[in-house]
């Protein structure tokens, strides 16, 4: 090679000049305008960071977990510098967790996907080329039009992970306009059975915990101080209750979590037996007469809707009789005396919070477990009452709606295999890919997933990978993502998503103080590269497939919503929300006890159903006459629940608990459930041991998983600040259990189930009950950037050009337990059974 000098440089320049002589290549200039060396003087602009450059403070909202805290982003020179809580938020009170503050990593990590990419090799071969958005959307639109023109819009399936509020609303609106109802979610890996258990009782919202006013807290299988739903709003209030007011707090958990560590007492419990303890508490409370009759009048506990309080008390007492504290001790390992003491404290407190989450519901019969928890809260009059387990209150936004397609169809692959789940009201998302594999219920021809990683987050994930890789299963796959991961590697087109810090949304998460907070998310910075918000992509796609949406962009969707939502509109609408980020009604009172509200039943068409005590409007229900309505009765009239007006409570029509979900019920808490009975399930809640746990071999353990405080399930591993804090997930195992297998702390171990195996290291600790192995599901990435996986790029020979890679001081990146986790469901609520899997553990 010749070293360049001025002479040969001129030759080189001639070559450059010849190559670009006419400027007719496809390369367009980056810069516009002409050089003006005096421009800076004329403008008076100042770019020194040391001389007062402007820093903007922009209110927005987090997305690092479902809590979606309102926050402030500080932006300087177009770069996001810092995130912190919004002090004007009544939910968060200005707090933001470590995960939230690390959101900056989501925007700026160097291996972020910034352009549409098209697969050019085989699926999984990691061979891609950049394409334009026009090329990407034209390709997708052609596929969608083909399906619609063939009368099979349902063969376009969309599946999403963390979509909430307007992010979900815009997607559903687009899919409605297109005509496909084949929309998969992720709820069964998250909570489904909790929803189902509660909806069948008190309607369509799960609970909040009124820590600001409670006097006693009992927690089952929930890690409130680390990862609990609505984490920051609730955990700070629980800490305050405990520290400022000395509120007793007891935690039943398989592991010594940081929540359990801060409790008055950690009560180690065998997986799947929490409900035996809940029933034993009911037993103690009923036997010792500690129940409070107040709520019994709102409860249905026998077939008879009009049973007396005494009859109801007798029925509950009878149902609980077999579940003594001694029985619960045998099942769970928790001493009977402890159960008695906690039951008495819970019942005698002026108010008490019963907290349940995945530790209770992600099991066989998880939905019924949740019903038992609701029963314990009800008999102690701690349901929807100050200081108790209260019905969550969130913002109710109005929003624009597009004209639905004339024909809407759905592939029957969303709710599990036929007969698998009795009430799949929140779908059975972990069975979508097993059903696609099965094929007998149809397969999508276009599968588009967003903010979702099916080949990582579900059980038996290696099988899902193989299915995604097989072009004969689903012929066309589109993924919207910011990072290359276990699933996007098998897409045909990857669309670069914006991060939540670059997009518009309205938000609606539950308020911990029972007053609804309306808040928005607005872009802090311009989307990097060619990243585009999915809402804006839908607008563009709609034009290509000939759909007319009622909104012209995601920003427009949010703007219209602000202008059509009562309260927000009067406060100043979109402009107010952009400036302040949050709004709540300053005159609102905390929402408790709406069930007691009296209702005017004098309206035209309202009749009282003698059998159930329900007031309902036969005209609204579409019945021909009052006589016919009375003859058919409320429960036997299709559509009558939508015409529910009130429940007769001791002669007074009260709002009670309206039937506002798919469950047909009265206004009573439907503990005795015709819905359950109609499916051959026990009408009244009960305790059902996990069947597989009854026939485990002596060498088998129960595998459980958990979420890490600084990570989500699958969306944060590439955040380097968080990866530095937590990058490994060794398996927790009790010293006794470990010794039986010759395992010492730090040993490599192999975990084997019926569906697969993985290796990890042992963390031998007294902080877990014997007979269990617990591994977080948040780590162990095949891909997810170099910080997430620690692996060199699948597409280059090296580790990219980020010099910070040299600062990765940790060598371990975790193991993923889902290789050994089956996809199996709570047969009632459809939850993925994360905590039921028998495994064998041995030194590797």
């Amino acid at each position: 090679m010749t070293k360049l000098n001025r002479r040969n440089f001129m030759t080189l320049a001639a070559a450059g000049g010849a190559a670009l002589a006419t400027g007719t290549t496809g390369t367009r200039p980056v810069l516009a305008g002409t050089v003006d060396i005096n421009a800076v003087e004329a403008s008076g602009r100042d770019f020194s960071p040391k001389t007062g450059k402007e820093r903007q403070a922009i209110p927005t909202a987090c997305w690092q977990c479902v809590t979606r805290d309102s926050m402030i982003g500080y932006v300087e020179d177009g770069r996001l510098k810092k995130l912190e809580g919004n002090p004007n938020s009544i939910r968060t009170l200005g707090k933001l967790c470590a995960r939230g503050q690390a959101g900056i990593n989501q925007v700026y990590f160097p291996d972020r996907i910034l352009y549409p990419l098209q697969r050019v090799g085989k699926r999984g071969e990691h061979k891609w080329k950049r394409i334009s958005w026009d090329e990407a959307l034209d390709t997708i639109a052609a596929k969608l039009k083909e399906l619609r023109d063939a009368g099979t819009p349902e063969l376009f399936m969309y599946q999403y992970g963390r979509h909430k509020a307007s992010q979900a609303a815009t997607m559903y609106d687009f899919m409605s306009a297109f005509g496909s109802q084949t929309i998969g979610n992720h709820t069964s890996v998250c909570e489904a059975s909790k929803w189902v258990g509660q909806e069948s009782l008190w309607g369509g919202m799960y609970e909040n915990w009124d820590y600001d006013n409670t006097d006693f807290v009992v927690i089952f299988g929930s890690n409130n101080f680390e990862t609990h739903t609505n984490h920051i709003p609730t955990s700070q209030r629980l800490i305050r209750a405990k520290v400022d007011r000395g509120v007793p707090m007891y935690v039943f958990d398989v592991r010594l979590t940081n929540t359990a560590a801060k409790a008055d007492e950690w009560l180690p419990v065998k997986p799947g037996t929490d409900t035996a303890i809940i029933w034993a508490m009911i037993n103690v409370i009923m036997e010792e007469g500690l129940y409070k009759p107040d709520h019994f009048k709102y409860m249905r506990v026998t077939k008879d809707f009009k049973a007396s309080i005494d009859e109801k008390v007798a029925a509950v007492k009878k149902a609980a009789a077999a579940f003594t504290p001694e029985f619960a001790e045998k099942e769970s390992g928790v001493p009977a005396d402890k159960i008695r003491a906690i039951a008495r404290g819970f019942a005698k407190a002026n108010s008490a919070c019963l907290v349940t989450y995945r530790g209770v519901v992600k099991h066989f019969n998880g939905a019924d477990n949740e019903r038992a928890a609701m029963l314990l809260a009800a008999i102690t009059n701690n349901l929807d009452r100050k200081g108790g387990r209260v019905m969550g209150v969130g913002a109710g936004w109005n929003h624009p709606k597009s004209k639905p397609a004339q024909v809407a169809k759905k592939l029957p692959i969303l709710d599990g295999f036929p007969g698998e789940v009795a009430f799949p009201t929140h779908h059975v998302s972990h069975q979508v890919w097993p059903m696609i594999k099965d094929g007998s219920h149809g397969r999508p021809k276009v599968y588009w997933w967003s903010c979702y990683n099916p080949a990582y987050i579900n059980g038996n994930n290696n099988e899902t990978k193989a299915l995604l890789a097989d072009e004969s299963v689903v012929p066309f796959q589109v993924c919207t993502t910011i990072v290359y991961d276990e699933s996007s590697q098998y897409a045909d087109i990857i669309l670069p998503d914006v991060t939540y810090l670059e997009r518009w949304d309205w938000e609606d998460m539950v308020s911990a103080n029972q007053i609804a907070e309306f808040y928005i998310r607005q872009p802090l910075v311009k989307p990097l590269g060619e990243a585009r918000c999915q809402g804006d992509v839908f607008v563009d796609l709609a034009k290509r497939v000939g759909l007319e949406l009622a909104w012209s962009s995601k920003e427009d969707f949010v703007r219209q919503s602000c202008e059509m939502t009562p309260g927000v509109k009067e406060a100043g609408g979109f402009e107010y929300m952009k400036k302040h980020g949050v709004w709540h009604d300053p005159n609102a009172k905390p929402n408790y006890g709406f069930f007691e509200e009296t209702v005017d039943t004098s309206g035209d068409g309202v009749v009282l159903d003698e059998e159930t005590g329900v007031y309902w409007n036969w005209k609204k229900a579409g019945v021909a006459s009052e006589a016919e309505a009375k003859q058919q009765g409320y429960l036997k009239t299709p559509g009558a629940k939508a015409a529910y007006v009130a429940q007769d409570i001791d002669g007074t029509p009260r709002r009670a608990y309206p039937p506002n979900t798919k469950f047909v019920k009265t206004g009573l808490l439907d503990f005795y459930s015709d819905n359950w009975e109609s499916k051959g399930l026990p009408a009244f809640p009960t305790y059902t041991p996990v069947p597989e746990h009854q026939k485990m071999g002596e060498d088998e353990l129960i595998m459980t998983t958990y979420k890490l405080a600084v990570h989500t399930h699958s969306r944060t591993a590439h955040c380097k600040w968080l990866a530095e804090i937590k990058h490994d997930n060794p398996a927790w195992i009790n010293p006794k259990t470990a010794a039986e297998r010759g395992i010492s702390d730090g040993d490599p171990i192999k975990v084997v189930s019926k569906v697969g195996e993985f290796t990890t290291t042992a963390y031998v600790t007294e902080g877990i009950v014997p007979g269990v192995v617990a591994i977080s599901h948040s780590l162990g990435r095949e891909h997810s950037g170099v910080y997430g996986s620690g692996a060199a790029s699948p597409t280059t020979q090296g580790e990219g050009s980020d010099p910070d890679v040299a600062n990765i001081w940790w060598k371990k990146h975790g193991a993923h337990p889902n290789a050994a986790m089956p996809n199996w469901s709570d047969p009632v609520g459809g939850s993925q059974r994360w905590f039921d899997t028998p495994v064998r553990v041995e030194r590797a």
Partner: protein, 247 residues
């Protein structure tokens, strides 16, 4: 451009017309900006393979055209697009073409997209009266943006020389030196080394070697030139203006 004259070996450097040299540098920057901006399209490939272009490049030791495999044009465009994507876009870890990721950052700085360095590059370019094109979608400190900025500055210098505005040309040269020293020249050579090591196609190896040599040439040019502008500075010297604003 006096290519015929400059083809003569042994011509003394100093006898090259400064306007021609500046225009020559502009052409080279334009070429590099184009090849780093995106994978070459059929048009650019055809021009690179043009016999005269190939001969000129080869004459100075950069057989760019010869590095291209003998494939049908469509296949070659496709292969280069795939390699460009793999090398510079991902998905997954890749060789970022952004200064903020590549530059030798300070102890407390962060290697990431859109850092303060990015903001400084953007401010520098805008200070010179330019703005980013409305349809430009990458970040302000993409290597092609910085190369194009140098292209524009050198073209302006050449025009100033030709118009007899020697002092303005000197000032623009000083601005080039400042930008090159603080930004492009600080990271382009190491980027080129990484590209040479990682690429699977001789074309990008040739491009990287060319770009590294150009950076070396520019560094020597700026080092050899007088520290102060040779002619009297204009009333508002960008050297002075920029030094007070960009740091």
């Amino acid at each position: 451009m006096g290519t015929a004259r400059n083809d003569q070996a042994g011509t003394a450097a100093d006898d090259i017309d400064p306007a021609a040299l500046a225009q020559a540098r502009s052409n080279v920057y334009a070429l590099l900006a184009a090849v780093f901006r995106a994978a070459p399209d059929a048009e650019l490939l055809a021009r690179l393979r043009d016999a005269e272009t190939a001969r000129l490049l080869e004459a100075v030791g950069f057989p760019v055209a010869a590095s291209l495999p003998a494939l049908p044009d469509g296949q070659l465009v496709e292969d280069l697009a795939v390699e460009y994507t793999r090398l510079f876009l991902g998905p997954g870890p890749h060789l970022s073409l952004h200064e903020s990721v590549n530059a030798n950052v300070g102890e407390h700085s962060e290697a990431a997209l859109w850092t303060e360095r990015t903001a400084r590059v953007k401010a520098f370019i805008e200070t010179a009266g330019l703005s980013y094109a409305a349809d430009y979608t990458d970040l302000p400190d993409h290597v092609s943006a910085e190369l194009e900025f140098m292209q524009r500055l050198t073209a302006h210098e050449s025009a100033a020389h030709r118009a007899g505005r020697g002092s303005e040309a000197a000032v623009v040269f000083a601005v080039q030196r400042k930008f090159f020293t603080e930004h492009l020249g600080a990271w382009l050579p190491s980027l080129c080394d990484k590209v040479s090591a990682d690429t699977r196609m001789a074309f990008y190896k040739a491009v990287a070697e060319l770009a590294k040599e150009v950076a070396d040439f520019e560094a020597r040019l700026f080092a050899e030139a007088p520290a102060e502008a040779p002619a009297a500075p204009p009333p508002s010297s960008p050297e002075h203006v920029v030094s007070g604003r960009v740091n």
